[in-house]
Amino acid sequence: MSKVKTESFEDCLRSLEELVRELEAGDKGLEDSLALFEKGVALAKDLSRRLEEAKTKVEALSKDGGKLVKKPFAALDEE
C-alpha cells in the first residue's frame, strides 16, 4: 500500500456508480457525457488495477511501553 493518501476503493467505486447513473440519466450534452465517460473509464481502470496489484500484508501487533510495535506475522507453530 502506497503512503500517498488516495481515495479509498469504496469511494472510487461509489464515484463510478454515481457517474454511470448520471450517464444513464441521459440529460447531459455530448461533451459532458464524453467527459463523464472518460472519467469513468479512468476510475474503472484504477479500480481494476488496485484489485490486480494488491498484495496482502500480514503483521503481528504488540505493545512495547505503551507504543504499538508492528512486525511481519509468522504463525507461532509454523515450520
Partner: protein, 398 residues
C-alpha cells in the same frame, strides 16, 4: 463450698469455648441448602443464610473465597457449600464459613453465563441498535486470536484469497486459561487506542470444549467488545457455540473462516461489478450518442437541408407553373369581362329607343336632333323620320 464448686463463665468465655469446640469437632463439610438473605458488603464479603424446609443457618463467604466463584450468589439459588462450622463469637451465633460453592441444579459455568447474560442484556449491551455496520471494502482488518493454531491461519488464508491488498493485523493473545479474557479484552482496547485506522476486528478462536471457549464468555471481553469503536465480528469455536462475545459483537460469525468471509468482499465479484459498470457506462454513452444522432438526423433529414438546390427547383417550378397558368387565367378574365359586357348590353337594349321603333313608333329628326315640339320646325324645313328600319326624308308641309 457450694459457692466454690460453681464455675462462673463470662459470656466471652462461653462463646470462645463453643467456638473452639465447634471448630475442633467438625471437619470441613459440604452443606446443601438454598441461599437467602444474601448480601455482599462493600468490604467484598458476602453474608447469607442457607436454609432447607425446616431450618436455617447463617453463613459468610469471605472476599478471598468469592474470587474463585464463577457465578454470583443469589437468593433462591440451590447450592452445595463447602464450609467450616464455627461461631461468630461476639454474637454467639452459629456460623458457616464458606470456602467454595457449587450450584446444585446446573453447572457453575452455565449459571455464571446465564447470570452475566441477564446482567449485560439489562444494560443494553446486546441491543441491536448498538450494532455497527461493517465497512464494505476494508483496507485494514484486525485479528485478536491465538498466534498459533488453525484459526489464525484460516483467517489469513481466506482474507488474502478473497480480498488481496488487505493489511491484516494480528494481535496474538492467549485464548484460554487464566488471564485469557483479560488479554483478549486488552487487545481489543489496544486496537482502538493504538491502531484506530483498523476498520474491522475479528475476535475469536477455533473450536474446543466449553471450558476452552470460556474466556469469550467472560465480562471483560464482553465489555471491551461493546466499547470498541471499531466494529467487531466474533468467531468463537464452531457453528453451535454461542458465547457472550457473540452477543455483544456487531456481527457473529459461526467460525473464524466464516468471519473472514463476512468482512471482505470477493475480488472476483467486485471485478465483475466494475466490468458491469464499465459496460453500463459504455451503453450509457452509446445511448446518448444515438439520441443525439437521431436528433441530428431528423434535423438534417429535411429535404431542403439535405439538398439546397431543391429549394431553387421548387421556386423555378412554381414560376413555370404560374406562367403556364397565366394565359388561361387571362382568357378566363377576358371571358368574365365579356360576359359582364353582354349582360350590360342586354340591359342597354331594353331601354334603347330603337326597340320602341320596332313597335311602329318613329323619331322625327331635324338637323340631327329629335323633334319633341312642332315649333322646332318651320314650313319647308327638311325632317328626317327614323323608322324601325330605315328612314324617310320629308319636308314640313305646314
Amino acid at each position: 463450698m457450694e459457692r466454690a464448686a460453681r464455675r462462673v463463665f463470662t459470656v466471652s468465655e462461653v462463646n470462645s469455648q463453643v467456638h473452639d469446640l465447634l471448630e475442633a469437632s467438625f471437619p470441613e463439610l459440604w452443606v446443601e441448602g438454598e441461599v437467602s438473605n444474601c448480601k455482599t458488603y462493600p468490604s467484598g464479603h458476602t453474608y447469607l443464610s442457607l436454609k432447607d424446609e425446616k431450618s436455617q443457618v447463617r453463613a459468610v463467604l469471605f472476599k478471598g473465597a468469592s474470587f474463585s466463584l464463577q457465578f454470583k450468589l443469589q437468593d433462591g439459588l440451590k447450592v452445595l457449600a463447602r464450609c467450616r462450622v464455627t461461631s461468630y463469637e461476639s454474637r454467639g451465633e452459629l456460623q458457616l464459613i464458606v470456602s467454595a460453592v457449587e450450584p446444585r441444579e446446573k453447572g457453575a459455568l452455565q449459571l455464571a453465563l446465564e447470570q452475566l447474560k441477564v446482567k449485560l442484556r439489562a444494560e443494553g449491551l446486546f441491543d441491536e441498535s448498538r450494532k455497527k455496520p461493517l465497512p464494505p471494502y476494508p483496507r485494514a482488518v484486525g485479528v485478536v486470536t491465538s498466534g498459533s493454531g488453525a484459526a489464525v491461519r484460516d483467517i489469513i488464508n481466506v482474507l488474502s484469497r478473497r480480498w488481496p491488498g488487505l493489511e491484516i493485523r494480528v494481535w496474538p493473545v492467549r485464548v484460554q486459561g487464566p488471564g485469557a479474557s483479560a488479554e483478549i479484552a486488552q487487545a481489543v482496547r489496544d486496537f482502538n487506542a493504538l491502531a484506530p485506522d483498523t476498520e474491522v476486528l475479528l475476535v475469536g478462536r477455533g473450536g474446543g470444549s466449553i471450558e476452552d471457549l470460556w474466556a469469550f464468555n467472560e465480562e471483560p471481553v464482553a465489555r471491551a467488545i461493546s466499547e470498541s469503536l471499531i466494529p467487531v465480528v466474533s468467531c468463537v469455536g464452531h457453528e453451535t457455540d454461542w458465547t457472550i462475545a457473540d452477543f455483544t459483537a456487531d456481527l457473529r460469525a459461526p467460525t473464524p473462516s466464516a468471519a473472514a468471509e463476512l468482512v471482505v468482499p470477493e475480488k472476483a465479484a467486485v471485478a465483475e461489478r466494475i466490468a458491469e459498470l464499465e459496460g453500463a457506462m459504455l451503453q450509457g454513452l452509446r445511448d446518448r450518442i444515438e439520441a443525439l444522432e437521431r436528433r441530428l438526423a431528423y434535423a438534417a433529414g429535411h429535404p431542403f437541408l439535405q439538398d439546397p438546390r431543391r429549394l431553387w427547383e421548387q421556386r423555378v417550378q412554381r414560376v413555370d407553373e404560374l406562367a403556364a397558368r397565366l394565359p388561361e387565367a387571362m382568357r378566363l378574365a377576358v371571358e368574365r369581362l365579356a360576359m359582364r359586357l353582354r349582360v350590360s348590353a342586354g340591359k342597354l337594349d331594353a331601354i334603347s329607343p330603337l326597340q320602341v321603333l320596332g313597335r311602329g313608333y318613329a323619331i322625327a329628326l331635324s338637323r340631327g336632333k329629335a323633334l319633341t315640339r312642332a315649333s322646332q320646325v318651320k314650313k319647308g324645313d327638311p325632317v328626317t323620320v327614323r323608322l324601325h328600319e330605315g328612314s324617310i326624308d320629308c319636308e314640313v308641309a305646314k
